[in-house]
């Protein structure tokens, strides 16, 4: 192979070398630089040096010629002080070097602190352990990062180069040849003369797409879903338990008080459909929802605390107005009027649990909710 007549990197190689080389032959003064600086001669930015080189070697590569003709180097137009003054270049070099060294020291510091630093277990941020790790890690990474950027900005030759874009889209004859090849394949496969094969292939291969479906349905335990959504853990005669496991008795709640209660099941906190809010107000303040007369017991009213909008627990009870607020999207329910919606995106009132008191004076549910609790879904009647 003959050596390339022109170095593809000629322009940069000329100008590169060390910064000192360029300083020995300082760049042209700014005024001159400006005259040539716009660099807009056709020759300058249309010439693609290595395209020429490749062509000379007989393998012109239209698609991705590595071509880069120099238009105008940025530092010719705006010479950096590091280019003009060896002293400044030395200063810049020291800056970069010290940043790299800073990284080294910070890595050492990080390792030492990681091994021997006092981690105050259980304290937020582990005391000073985590912040100091962070600072050292930032210095370690930032030193290398800032050093590299500074090196490139202050000391590296960074000429503005021009590269031709390859034309997008293939030439027409290329496209035609490809279409022909595809057509030939279709002909060779005799697709046109065997429509039966094409049709049955479409059916057979297409049906493969159905294969994942049973698996997906299996993941969903689809056969149980509707019953699961309609029921909760509450059953007839089940006592209302506080989160500490104590059942609530008649008289435990003062007027205006509110209590979260749960059914008597293992891990009641995980029965996400069952939490209930037991509220006591003066009986004359309460107007039951139509059809829910008798669900309350002597001014004690039990609502599902799962919001009918998106299922957040409705926990904020304003005693004076009897408003129940969902903190997620601000749906507001009026507890004194059957928990009807008075504001926000919820569309339905909170379901009410019918309660009474057993012979020992404890509150019990009269049964499950008479409607699905929580957010709406398609199959909900």
């Amino acid at each position: 192979m003959t050596p390339p007549p022109e170095d593809p990197k000629g322009t940069s190689a000329d100008a590169s070398g060390s910064i000192r080389d360029r300083l020995q032959a300082p760049p042209q003064p700014p005024t001159d630089a400006e005259t040539s600086g716009s660099g807009l001669t056709d020759a300058a930015f249309q010439q693609t040096d290595s395209a020429a080189a490749l062509a000379a070697r007989g393998r012109s590569d239209q698609q991705e010629s590595s071509s880069a003709g120099t238009v105008a180097s940025d530092e010719q137009m705006h010479p950096r002080k590091e280019d003009l003054d060896p002293h400044e270049a030395k200063i810049a070099e020291r800056k970069v070097a010290s940043l790299f060294l800073l990284s080294f020291l910070a890595v050492l510091g990080f390792c030492v602190w990681y091994l021997v630093g006092e981690q105050e277990f259980g304290q937020p941020n582990n005391g000073l352990f985590t912040p100091i790790l962070g600072v050292l890690l930032a210095l370690a990474l930032g030193g290398v990062g800032a050093g590299a950027v500074l090196w490139a900005k202050l000391l590296m030759v960074d000429e503005e180069a021009v590269q031709e874009r390859h034309p997008f889209g293939s030439p027409d004859d290329e496209r035609a040849a490809t279409a022909e090849a595809i057509q030939k394949g279709l002909d060779d496969a005799n697709i046109k003369r065997r429509p039966l094969l094409l049709g049955t292939l479409a059916v057979g291969a297409g049906s493969l797409a159905l294969l994942p479906l049973p698996f997906a349905l299996g993941m969903g335990r689809w056969q149980h879903k509707e019953r699961e959504l309609e029921t909760t853990a509450w059953t007839e005669g089940m006592r209302l338990y506080r989160s500490n496991g104590q059942p609530v008795r008649l008289g435990d709640l003062q007027v205006g008080a509110v209590e979260s209660v749960f059914p008597d099941v293992p891990h009641p906190q995980l029965r996400a459909d069952s939490p209930v809010l037991l509220i006591r107000m003066r009986p004359e303040e309460f107007t039951p929802a139509p059809g829910h007369e008798g669900y309350d017991y002597q001014g004690h009213i039990a609502y599902s605390s799962i919001c009918t909008h998106l299922g957040c627990p409705v926990k904020l009870y304003e005693q004076r107005t009897h408003h129940l607020l969902c903190p997620c999207h601000q749906s507001t329910f009026d507890a004194s009027r059957g928990a009807e919606v008075i504001f926000g995106p919820a569309a339905r009132r909170l379901p009410q649990l019918a309660i009474s008191v057993d012979e020992d004076g404890y509150f019990v549910a009269n049964g499950d909710f008479d409607e699905p609790i929580g957010p709406s879904y398609w199959e909900r009647a």
Partner: protein, 562 residues
């Protein structure tokens, strides 16, 4: 046989010769096996245009790498299990509390694994930065028209990356099984339920049982650490390869045409800057991870379906959906044994679905309405395309109203106003603000075009007042330097019949040129008079391919060189 290591150093010393030999040998070894010299050389010489806004996508890429690194470390300690355990770790306030293994292992990462907390916080901050940088990068691409032919496919990939990044982030902050994440998951479950016809099937497919069930955490975990990252990785790779193949877009400027790329070669300075920038991004995230607390799950406590904290907020990129659900009135229809939760599906399914569909389709919509099916490698400035910019600003205002409404309870408590009023204000703003923003933005763009026209036509005001023989006073103006002219002139391709006659002839007009014009002075940098007086009110829909070639630029360059 040439090798990549054949560049002669200008000062051969013993050391550099040795290293040169080593490089030569390595290069030859590799090239003998891969034949990679040509590829390597072409890659090293690849030219990248430079602009600060081109770094936004880089930040997203680097955040993703940092997410992979920090996430891998976290996976060594995290347990995706809902099995109940009693906490017995270093964080005393929670000792003795029943919680899931997932939450316990998250607490252990924070308090008992050396360096675990900083790694988790880096991971969380990187996730926030990942989505931020994707969004801002997407805005840059939109407002500069970088999505136009031939880059529509990369735009589509970018939008898909945004959607996946949001899902990935949501899956990630749902893993600790703390009170906040459980609340978010329950909302996700409820949204799935609300989908018409298939809602319950979809919800049970993801959760395996009625919420919470016992399986969702395993599924969420495998989605978060394997499925979604794998798709992200594949799409990011395709995104990068397409950028590489199609070459980057560039802003208008001297010597920049639709047929070339003007910028820095990849090697060495650009690579040094980009590599350095990766470490700088990492350094910032490391500092944030060490110094700024994020998502302190130990304060929220373990998940309990009957509890919730007031003022609970999702991560920022989910806030707009939260706001949409807050603003929606409580509409629901039921009948024939079915319920349609309009109050849920409109804000949580229809609106995001519509927004992302419009985003995906935007390149083709714009082509359809402008008739512009040309290749574009020169970027628009936002003012160049007033309608597009106005659409973008309008969409942003819509998004911002939703996003701010996601925190309307926080705003209400800070400013001591009623939550209801903030909701009403949000509803009104959502309907009124976008059209207003559209009109204002379009006016601003057109105004900026007018001021560009002033500059190009009349030059910069010099402050020198001259008195004409007639007694009239005029201010002399200095013509705009060529690079600026070239940048500005892109906004006004010549339009036949609209230009000044003598200018349309293409001859440089001496009027306004410095008298000593010629080589070697400022006149190289100034041009004389505009080539056309093309309307700045140009209607995008009327723009046609025929107007797009840049005869004006060529003329400008020609005249500037005289």
């Amino acid at each position: 046989m040439t090798t990549s290591g054949s560049v002669a150093t200008s000062r051969p010393s013993r050391a550099s010769t040795l290293s040169g030999n080593a490089a030569n040998a390595t290069g030859r070894w590799v090239d003998d096996r891969l034949g990679s010299s040509n590829f390597v050389r072409r890659s090293l010489n690849k030219v990248f245009p430079d602009h600060w806004s081109f770094m936004l996508g880089e930040i997203a890429l680097y955040s993703f790498i940092i997410l992979l690194l920090s996430g891998t470390y976290l996976a060594f300690f995290y347990t995706p299990s809902l099995a109940e355990v009693v906490y017995d770790g270093s964080f005393t306030p929670l000792v003795g509390v029943e919680m899931s293994e997932a939450y316990e292992s998250t607490l252990n990462i924070a308090f008992d694994v050396r360096g675990g907390l900083i790694m988790r916080q880096i991971h969380h901050w990187a996730a926030l930065l990942f989505v931020v940088s994707i969004v801002v990068h997407l805005m840059r691409v939109f407002f500069t028209g970088a999505f136009r032919k031939p880059r529509e496919l990369n735009w589509v990939i970018g939008v898909l990356l945004l959607i996946l990044a949001i899902l990935e982030g949501f899956a990630g902050y749902s893993l600790p099984d703390d009170l906040l994440s459980g609340t978010g998951l329950r909302i996700a479950w409820s949204i799935m339920l609300a989908v018409p016809v298939v809602g319950t099937w979809v919800a049970f497919l993801f959760f395996g049982a009625e919420y919470p069930g016992t399986e969702f955490l395993d599924r969420l975990y495998i989605a978060h650490v394997f499925i979604v990252p794998l798709i992200l990785l594949g799409l990011i790779t395709a995104h990068m390869m397409m950028i590489w193949y199609q070459k980057h877009t560039q802003f208008a400027g001297p010597g920049r045409t639709e047929e070339n790329v003007v910028g820095s070669r990849l090697y060495p300075a650009y690579a040094a800057k980009a590599g350095g920038f990766f470490f700088l991004v990492f350094a910032v995230l490391a500092a944030m991870g060490g110094l700024f607390q994020i998502n302190p799950v130990w304060l929220y406590g373990p998940y309990n379906p009957s509890q919730v904290t007031a003022g609970s907020q999702p991560d920022w990129y989910v806030g707009w959906l939260d706001g949409a659900t807050r603003l929606m009135p409580g509409w629901e229809v039921s009948g024939l044994g079915h319920t349609l939760a309009i109050n849920v599906i409109v804000p949580a399914v229809v609106i995001p679905g519509l927004i992302f569909t419009l985003m995906l389709a935007y390149p083709w919509l714009e082509q359809r309405f402008t008739g512009d099916r040309d290749f574009h490698h020169i970027l628009d400035r936002p003012r160049d395309a007033p309608v597009r910019t106005a659409i973008g600003a309008m969409s942003l205002s819509f998004y911002l109203v939703l996003w701010i409404s996601g925190g309307n309870d926080v705003i209400a408590s800070i400013f001591d106003i009623s939550v209801n009023h903030t909701t009403y204000a949000g509803r009104i703003a959502l309907l009124l603000l976008p059209p207003v923003v559209y009109v204002i933005t379009k006016r601003i763009c057109i105004g900026l075009q007018e001021s560009d026209k002033e500059l190009v036509h009349h030059g910069i005001e010099s402050g020198t007042i001259r008195r004409l023989p007639s007694g009239e006073f005029v201010e002399e103006t200095v013509p705009l330097p060529v690079p600026y002219r070239l940048a500005l002139n892109k906004v006004e391709p010549s339009e036949p019949g609209h230009g000044n006659k003598e200018l349309a002839s293409g001859e440089p007009v001496p009027h306004g040129a410095p008298s000593d014009g010629g080589h070697g002075d400022m006149t190289q940098w100034v041009d004389t008079e505009p080539k056309s007086k093309k309307g700045f009110l140009r209607d995008k829909s009327k723009r046609r391919a025929a107007e797009r070639p840049e005869p004006t630029r060529a003329e400008l360059e020609g005249s500037g060189q005289q």
